[in-house]
Symmetry: C5
């Protein structure tokens, strides 16, 4: 995965000329100069409440929210994605992390059986721009859409408007798109995941985070993912890391998503932060070795196990 | 179909004097100087998700979103209609296409049986004007109304306001109007299609896209369409191309819609982009030959089959 | 009905001093200098879709929307009321008509049994003012409220705000108020019509259009209408013309509404435009003869039948 | 009830310094320099439609809306409360009345059994301020909250914002608070009325209008009202006059509400305007004799019966 | 609990540089220079209507709203939290209290069984800033979120935006977060309380008020609270004081919440204001002795009983 130059980046037409260089700076920073994305997902304190951060199988260090920032600072990530307030509270002590502000969030208390999911926009972009202006290293924003929810219209509209505003200010955008709701019978069907990817493209996002499709008809998840990465066109596709699995399985999946499925990276949360600081830091490096450095699985495992280092 | 001159265009009273020339430019560009419309519909990646772009009977080239822009660039279209983000991503490499920004969209996941359809506005006009200002060749906007939906009020209001804003800035407007919802028992009844056409006129749209009515009482679809084209008055009526059919049938229908039904053109998506690039390009030319060049069906088929060329 | 002078007009306190003359101009124009109103209702292409304009018993000329403007131009009307877009499209060729922009509209597809009626505001007043500024002869606005609908709050709020804004800009206002919804058992009860009339007064409208009450307890519709015209106080009351009836009946009703019921005019659509141009023009003159000229029914019938002319 | 001086008025902290004198002027005017309130409620033409103004037992003069203004002008009232449009239409001829603009209203058509009550804000404060600026003698605004309705949030939010805006402009505020809705089993329970009174205080209102509590446990309504007048603290409490009763009963209740219940006045509509002009004028004077002049019931009855006069 | 200095305070990145000193002033004032919070909750006149202020077991002095301000003035509190209007009415006579404006409130009339809870924002921040500008000693704002309600999205969005706006103006923020609604089966489960605490952190609040968790599995409430105070990270956690209990129990719980549970203070209403002024004042001092002065329970009880004094 050779480094790219600024000239290789296709700047969309909604980035205003006066912030073109800002957009390029942000894209180069977020992708570490590769065009690929390694997103450390730190929005689950609202999304999953405290169950992702405390309990059996979770390292005790994860009970302190600062753990996330220590990992972000000592590990190798493209961006650390979290809600505006979380970032505001810790960024002054971790000024070098590339922050991506998650613009919406919901808890998991109301289940889909009760009510189709709606994750509301929590603040306007002005608040994010003010933080950036005040010196916080914000490179972009994120937003989650539950496609097929009865509240799809609200989320599509909020995302659609935010992307236009963010690009006009030189920020990059990542959409999380998950089909979910009474109308959705198979959230991980390959063609539906591809539809989500195409939707992100049409909304103008720079990257889209989707769940990897379920294997079907003898095809693996990574093979089926190719439909989605095709559909997303010039919008880079990354897969959600999902719940914790062992590192070998996890890194193998990631490698296949990129090299078979056409993904340009990944977006992982629990699998990283539920580990001790040292182990988590090594996992971010192993992920980045594959994503940014084009390592194979065994090399990446060596990085994870500390036998080898990876740096940019 | 002789060329028209700028003086032949009736400029509505809500086009502000200072953008009168811009409006005339856009109308002349979109109609290729004929007053007629050939709209290449590229909004289905959200509307129909990925099923229109990948699968049996669809050329593999359609799985890459850039396919749409190659057709738009190499073929002959009046406008390419797509969501703002899609256009933003590819327009820099295809600067000569006339773009029409689709302002709202929904997926097809929530069916009418679950919930009446609502397609939300995805961004405000400012975002579109900014792109135009930054050099993107945007000539107009589009919006879909599901008449008879319980959400008709929301869509009527969004469309009503957008049309006023767009005309005030010199942009042309196309409404897609489809009767749909629990209250609608026959979506393609001729008088209902005519009602949709009249609604578009009253909202101030320049063009309205409707489904062709069902044949009834011994009258053909094209004959019944006349009621709608009468009802739309000074708002030009075009028919949706619908699902893929063979070229002969398709071009025959188009010819009848114009010459019997009073349509001023057509709006076609799948029937074009599901084909290979070469075939798709030839189909746009065949359509344009009828719409812009007043060819008969056989001449247009010759264009489609490459036996004859059509250019403007 | 002698002519009034500008000094006879009671200018409400929400007309700002700097537009007082504009308001007086508009009121004198709309009432042809009489204080009475003859409103030609041309908003049904949305309200009733195409069934009012095409079919058995309807003159074929009514299938062309321009028919409305020909009548408005050649006949004698106080104002022609229609949606903003309709007016924008034809007003450049019919600059002398007094236009009243209908600010909200709904189709008749969703019936009250399915959902209480809501007719949404379709554009803000800015759009109307811009058209006026650009030279379009707009003298006022209109808005429909369905009193007793579960959506009464939305319509009351939209109307309440619009009236304030319109008066502040010197425009006159007509409210259409119809009791309708699950809660309304008798839409034409005299006391309910009177309640509607009083509501219009409290909202600040200049005129209110109501349905004539049903005859009851031995009293005629016109006699019962007096309760409503009393209740509307300084807000002038006019009756809806309703569905087509023969001219004699129609003109007799109108005369009684004014001379017995205390109405200051009428608001008629179908009864006019479903006729041929010549007949429709004569009917507008007959109506205006009663409304503006204080003709009796027989004299007005002579005007309708072309035996006599009426001009202002 | 001795006159108060401007220095006795506690100006709340949300009255901006630059309008402090305006607020004091308005408070002195509305309370006739006593700190007490006599509110003539003229908002029922929407709230109760025409049944309060025409029918058996109602003087025929009440069928003309101007009746309200004649009473307000010839009688003695603190403020005349009505919707913005009603005031706009008559205030030019009755410039000396102190007007209080009712900011929201609903009809009584949709009953609580069908839908919890919501009375929507009908115009923004700008419209009211413009009228004041243009010379209309507006001293304050009013708003109704149905506490315990499922729409309580909307009304609380509209009231909360309006009070802040009104005070910032020097206007006084009266809240009407009535517990009503599916959740409310006893609308006139003393502790609930007290809760309503406390709510008005917390929202920042200057006065609150409540229904007098039902007698209970051997205590009279006036005795139980004391809990509410305590709870409202520095927000003055007045009772609704309710439906028409004979003058003796009415004035006795009023006297007890003030002298036993701690009220600072009353808010009466029907009981006044359903009478002939002369009788209505005398009743306003009798009420004001108790409220502003500290008359006892017999003295006030003498005023009502014309045996004695009351002036300020 | 030694005093802290301004340098010890971690200023979040959304406090704009030009108001950094204002924020520090507010934080030092609200925490009495300790970083700890003693919040006197005075928002129940809406939340609980009058039942918290009048009745058996409640000192009669509590029926007068001014009681709250006397306590706030004579006792020792960090902040007095109440609705904007309540503060506006009394603050001019109690200028030295640190006020925290509660931005939303609802009554308890509509129960969760009828409808999930929604507490609406009652005024925008502009209204609060204007009061501060006019001299009112406002140091921060508060907002309640019912996590797991079907209206969670509305409250999350209102809180999220308000926090950004408040910090940008140098105000501190306290969130009240209570899990409640059809979806919530155990409102006081320790992991859910911890989820609420983490949510407050992610939204950017300075402090979060939660209910103490229910004891479970042999662990005390205070022990289980530790999970929540960990989860809230740099957002200080305080517990609601709950319904009245005897002072010994109450102060013991408070001490344990701080010293075992990791709380940084408390937020108490009824337990204070339902007492006589003298007793209430002593209780605030006892609470502050623990919160600000690091007293043990016995020492605090001595303060409460007047055997010892506590001052800052």
């Amino acid at each position: 995965m050779p480094k790219i130059s600024r000239e290789d980046i296709l700047v969309p037409a909604d980035v205003m000329p006066e912030v073109r260089e800002v957009y390029l700076d942000n894209m180069m920073a977020a992708t570490r100069g590769t065009g690929h994305l390694m997103l450390f997902a730190c929005d689950q304190k609202i999304e999953h409440l405290n169950k992702d951060f405390y309990g059996e199988g979770i390292d005790i260090s994860d009970s302190d929210p600062e753990h996330l920032f220590k990992i972000g600072s000592q590990g190798i990530c493209g961006v650390l994605a979290g809600q505006r307030g979380l970032i505001a509270r810790y960024a002054p002590d971790y000024p070098d992390i590339n922050y991506l502000v998650k613009m919406n969030s919901k808890t998991n208390l109301v289940k889909t059986a009760q009510c189709d999911p709606y994750s509301p926009q929590l603040y306007d972009l002005e608040a994010v721009l003010a933080m950036r202006e005040a010196g916080c290293n914000i490179v972009g924003i994120g937003y989650t859409i539950y496609l097929g929810s009865e509240y799809e219209p609200q989320m599509m509209a909020e995302a659609g408007e935010l992307i236009a505003e963010a690009h006009a200010e030189g920020l990059i955008v990542v959409l999380w798109i998950y089909p979910r709701g009474e109308a959705v019978t198979d959230e991980k069907a390959a063609d539906l995941i591809a539809g989500a990817a195409g939707t992100a493209l049409c909304l103008g996002s720079d990257f889209v985070k989707v769940n990897p499709p379920s294997p079907a008809d003898g095809a693996t998840s990574a093979e089926l993912l190719k439909q989605a990465s095709d559909a997303s066109g010039r919008c880079g596709l990354v897969c959600a890391g999902g719940s914790a699995t062992d590192a070998t399985t996890f890194l193998t999946q990631l490698h296949e998503q990129i090299h078979i499925g056409g993904a340009v990276g990944n977006a992982t949360g629990r699998n990283i932060h539920q580990r001790s600081l040292d182990e988590a830091v090594r996992l971010t490096k192993a992920i980045s070795a594959i994503t940014f450095g084009d390592y194979d699985v065994q090399e990446a495992l060596d990085v994870f196990e500390g036998k080898e280092d990876f740096s940019l």
